[in-house]
């Protein structure tokens, strides 16, 4: 699959997800995916609230988005950038190499896990 085709496929997928979550309020339907960790243990995972976050964000409701998952809301621009970078690895190998330094990856992983633990302790 060519790079352009791959890019178009990704854009189409993201657009489809956005349309879906714009139309559907995750709090009102029961058939959307649910967090296995939360169902099994009752603990919140680092990503719990991401569907409500997306729905709120698509409706421009930043307060509700912040309430759903503040960590993901803050990280979203970075995640979008890294998603673009992952698709552009061959075109920007130097940028890719510099962004993915070992300390950065470890910091990202630690931040994610720390948020997952911290939100359960603090009840966010």
């Amino acid at each position: 699959m060519g790079q352009l085709t791959r890019r178009i496929a990704w854009i189409a997928l993201v657009a489809a997800v956005c349309v879906l979550y714009f139309c559907i309020d995750p709090l009102r339907v029961s058939w959307l995916p649910r967090c296995p960790l939360r169902m099994a243990t009752g603990w919140l995972c680092p990503g719990c609230g991401s569907q409500r976050l997306l729905h709120a964000l698509l409706h421009g409701d930043f307060a509700a988005a912040w309430h759903a998952n503040p960590f993901l809301l803050l990280a979203l621009p970075g995640i979008l950038f890294l998603g673009w970078l992952e698709l552009s690895r061959r075109r920007h190998p130097v940028l890719y190499m510099r962004v993915y330094s070992t300390p950065f990856i470890i910091a990202a992983g630690v931040a994610l896990v720390a948020w997952g633990i911290g939100r359960n302790i603090m009840g966010i």
Partner: protein, 236 residues
Amino acid sequence: MTDIIILTSGDAQRAHDIAGLFEGGNRIRVVALTDETLSAIDPAMPLEEVWLVIDSPEEAAPSFKERFGGRVVTLAPHRTAPEAAADIIAAIRGAAAPDNDPDAAWAKTLGLKYEPGRIPGGETSGQTPPPIPQEISAAAPEQPQGSHTANPHGVEEPMPPTYLVWSVVMTVLCCLPAGVVAIVFSSMVSSKYYAGDIEGAKRCSRRAEIWIIASFVAGVLWNTLYIPMVIAGWGN
């Protein structure tokens, strides 16, 4: 054994002094720098193993650099014969074992091309030149020729995909344990790559990919099998 050709102009005394310092194990010759110099080099000699030492003005170096694939040493005018011989040996050793060369490691970290054979020369300041490559644009000699032209960014071997963003997304959306394993492999791609272990980095990249897929499959299975059962009231 290393073949060394010393190109010299004008007084060939230093070139002959240098040649005298090398042991018999090396095939070394002194050639006067003229328009016919290249044809004076033995055509039967396998060029991959030949080092060219230029004991003459700087301008001579570029025309030979291409033919010798970077194995060119330009001697600074103020170096004595033993110092010059040490320069030559350092350059040849640096090319043979680039992993031990701190300059090469830095050049790799910064994504720059580095040519170990290049010794700064031609300075008139009289100071001993530090062993820093003056020029970083030429090809490293031990690299296969194709990889230079294939990549216009100056990276000898691009970093394999770390898949960090997918690892994070899978941790958050699908299966937390498998996603965390994928993040660990993502960080290992980076650490192995920066340590120069390209093969190890590629291996970890594939492992990260496998765990991302595993996390995705686990998330999909969970949501297609378990939740519908719960919704349907199964087990109650």
